[in-house]
């Protein structure tokens, strides 16, 4: 039983998607300052707001994702994280001005203005992306002795993904593409990842059902 559950998704698939989620988190975060600066400027406090909100959102995501992983972990929920994060990132692309303008008009202090803008723009997609890490750990872990090792491996992979996302965005992407083009790419990458997880999850279940039937037939 525990064997079949561990094969919900192959380990290397979980590792790959953890990399992608880490990459996308930092890509969006690095673009955050670019998105906020027309309204709140480029002062240090704008970066402070963005980093604070990303940290709090990720913390909430870890908490919720960890809790969800205890209740029948499955590929569908895992895929929904990716697709959900993509969908909730869309307002950043489509309605950024509509969201920031009223905040700019009501709050004079750019520190709190940028803080509230960060909440409305980034909190939900980032916390959903945060759910991916603990859930991935659960999908990779087979036994208790393994859990520390797997958690370490996953943090390693997703953090390397974050590093790559930070470097790629700040060194190259902003030089080659527009902000929204980069964001659309992240959205497409997340949705594609979600779909791939669904497909592989489906294939794995089919395989394990077949195996179980085969086993049962043999027993009979």
């Amino acid at each position: 039983m525990s064997k079949s559950r561990s094969q919900l998704l192959p380990r290397n698939v979980v590792a790959c998607v953890a990399f992608i989620s880490g990459f996308c988190i930092m890509t969006i975060e690095m673009l955050g300052a670019r998105i906020l600066s027309p309204y709140f400027g480029g002062s240090l406090s704008v970066w402070g707001s963005i980093i604070t909100i990303f940290m709090v959102a990720l913390a909430m995501g870890y908490l919720i994702g960890g809790r969800l992983s205890t209740q029948n972990p499955n590929a569908v929920t895992f895929a929904i994280f990716f697709i959900g994060a993509a969908v909730f990132s869309l307002p950043v692309i489509l309605f950024a001005d509509a969201i920031m303008e009223p905040i700019f008009l009501t709050i004079e202090d750019p520190r709190y203005g940028s803080l509230f803008a960060s909440i409305f723009l980034f909190f939900i997609p980032t916390s959903i992306l945060g759910m991916i890490s603990p859930y991935s750990v659960r999908l990779m872990v087979e036994t208790h002795e393994h859990s520390g090792h797997m958690a370490g491996l996953l943090y390693f992979i997703s953090t390397i993904g974050s590093a790559a996302g930070t470097l790629g965005t700040s060194f190259y992407f902003v030089l080659w593409f527009e902000v929204n083009q980069i964001l659309w790419s992240a959205v497409v990458a997340l949705i594609a990842t979600g779909c791939i997880i669904l497909l592989i999850g489906y294939a794995q279940t089919a395989k394990s059902v077949k195996q179980t039937r085969h086993y049962e037939n043999k027993q009979a």
């Binding site: 600066s37 027309p38 002062s43 750019p110 030089l175």
Partner: protein, 303 residues
Amino acid sequence: MKTNRLNANLLISLALMCFITLSSFPVKGETIHEERSKYRDITVTQVKNRRCLLFNVHRGDRNQTCVLIDDPDRLVFDYTRMSFAGLLLEPEPERILIIGLGGGSIPLTFSDLLPNTRIDVVEIDEAVVNVAKEFFFFRETENMKVTIDDGRPFIKRAAIRNETYDYIVLDAFSGDYIPEHMLTREFLEEVKRILSPNGVLVANTFSTSRLYDHESVTYQRVFNEFYNFRLQTSGNRIIITQLGSLPPRGELVAEARRIAKSLEKYGIPVLDYPRRLSTRVDWDMSRRILTDQYSPGNLLRDK
């Protein structure tokens, strides 16, 4: 005895090494003030009567501003003097906006020249304001106020309040980090909104690197035409433009003659300026314009 000799030799060579390192350092003269602010390292140096403000010295930055302490009215740098060329287009501004304080020589000169004109200065770094006051004779007056803020939101709010300025100086780009959100088409559109019908925009910008091309096409897109003002002796390029079409050169010459006397004590050679204001396109027009969506100024500067 021998070890002493050895030590002495060692000391001498060490001292020599120190001397060589120090003398190759870009700053000469005595450092009279050093401060690390939220945004940069601020250094004030003085050689004889010449006192200079420098940002991020260890990265080899140039002087931001210098004053002659026994003749503080005289402007030391070409680019500071060039910032007054806008007076040829708008000789009697009633409201002036200056983004970026530095050592404060531009606002001080305006305040001295036009004591009844209202001057708003916007500076992001409070430490720069304090240093300008303490070491560079800057002071706020009844008509001259400094706001600690980022230039872009300040201009956005001024536009919402329907305020206009007759003379706008953008001087936020000197130094080590370029505020990329103040290079974009959208930003220039906002500046346009607070420019009075006869008002003039004077922007101290870049004369080298690919950024020169990108910036030129962006200004061209927003303002159609502008004066490109460069001097061989200065690494800066000043963009001067206004809402309508630019005046004919004859008018500029006449205006220069009229105001030359009043600018003499600041050392501004305004008679020489009209023939240096060029409208010739000398940049690569195929470059992408800078927008809020695409503005990698800090990356383009190194290209």
